[in-house]
């Protein structure tokens, strides 16, 4: 007739409940952490994705520059264009300032990664140009 003290059962239940509270707190903390991490990842993903789409999209950048260079005013400027895997180099020993203004207006108004630029005034209407754009 060895019975268990109900106070012991009560104490056991209280311990179990205390453990469950602790576990719940732990899981909720993990949930808060996971939510914060998810939001951070999403924000980072959007930022990285948009930055990459601007500065690391080779195809997009190449096509956009080709469209600019194909414009009538620039076709006549006889620009020297060299393309490689990582960049495009545009140069001219003598370019009309009007054409130069048109080209630079479009390049500077677009989001291109200009790594080198040299514009030297040759006369009132002529200038030389060296420019490299990377992606």
């Amino acid at each position: 007739m060895n019975q268990i003290n109900p106070l012991q059962i009560g104490a056991l239940l209280v311990v179990v409940i205390a453990f469950l509270f602790f576990k719940l707190h732990e899981v909720k903390s993990e949930l808060v952490e996971a939510t914060a991490s998810y939001k951070m990842s999403e924000k980072l993903a959007v930022e990285v994705s948009s930055l990459k789409s601007v500065y690391a999209n080779k195809k997009k950048t190449k096509n956009a520059i080709n469209r600019i260079l194909a414009q009538g005013s620039l076709r006549e400027a006889a620009l020297d264009v060299k393309r490689n895997k990582k960049s495009i180099k545009v140069s001219s020993k003598s370019i009309e300032t009007k054409a130069l203004n048109s080209l630079m207006g479009k390049i500077l108004n677009g989001s291109y990664n200009i790594t080198n630029l040299k514009i030297k005034k040759l006369s009132e209407t002529k200038a030389s140009l060296e420019m490299e754009i990377q992606w």
């Binding site: 019975q3 179990v16 576990k23 999403e42 930022e47 601007v54 500077l108």
Partner: protein, 310 residues
Amino acid sequence: MNFKRSSTALFLDPSSPAIVEYEKGEKFNIILSPSLYWVKKIVLPVKSAREAKKLLESIFEDSLPKGHYSYTAYKSGDEFLVFAYEDKKILTLLNAKGINTVDVYSIHFAQNEFSSLEGATKINATQSMYLKDEVLVLAPSSWISESKELDLTSVELSKRTIKLQQFGHIVDNKSLYKIGAILVILALVLIVEIFVASSKKDAIVELQDEVFSKYKLQSTMFQNRSTKSKYKNIHKAQTKLREYLSYFLTMKLKSTQKITLIEYKNKTLYVTLKGASKGHERTITSQLDSKGVKYKVSYNDASIKVEMKI
């Protein structure tokens, strides 16, 4: 000694002063003296003892002295034998006799074990028990002319036993069940909450994995932060380059001053202006200062050269 002891059966009576001595491991079948319980033989409008038990508290309500009672009932023909007893009183007596509750194998009512008792039997120095209308009652031995000694060796114990509520006096069963039920429900609620929170967390982790694959991110956050930092620096530099160029292209210059060279290399922007006299560089630098641009300026051979880190 009124308190007789067989190999296992033991008659427990409060008027017996003796302390029971026994060997370790020995177990007892306790037979409770009629002085340790209240009994009634009654007809009840129920079929089973189980149903009868529900009525016992009200049946004994007016006939018992104040105390914390437990109740039990057994069917006896068309009638019921109903019992009321105080667990604590019996436990205290067992303790007083030196019997550990661990060594108690079973507990019986004398009523059930002596239901076919013939004549009267002495249970202690002053009292005897005998059957009256099938109910075992106590009477002073002096009232009874012939009373034999209690002999437990011939008693065959019935299966009608009770279990004492050792802690019934601390908390009654109903309260205990209520508290227990509340605690169990609380535990269940917590388990459900844990499960729900855990599921939410798993769903969020899954969503995060989807974000990684959707945006083609690198496997670690460190790598992604590094990529972001790289492109952010490019973005910053390109914005700054355009900003600085716009300052010069919109700058108010003297009629003699002309920008002759704009050069950007190794993250540094160089602008050369010709046709400037010594001291004229101030007109340029003051405009750059107002924009908060950091620069180096030099004057050489009517040329002002401005150098800015991007």
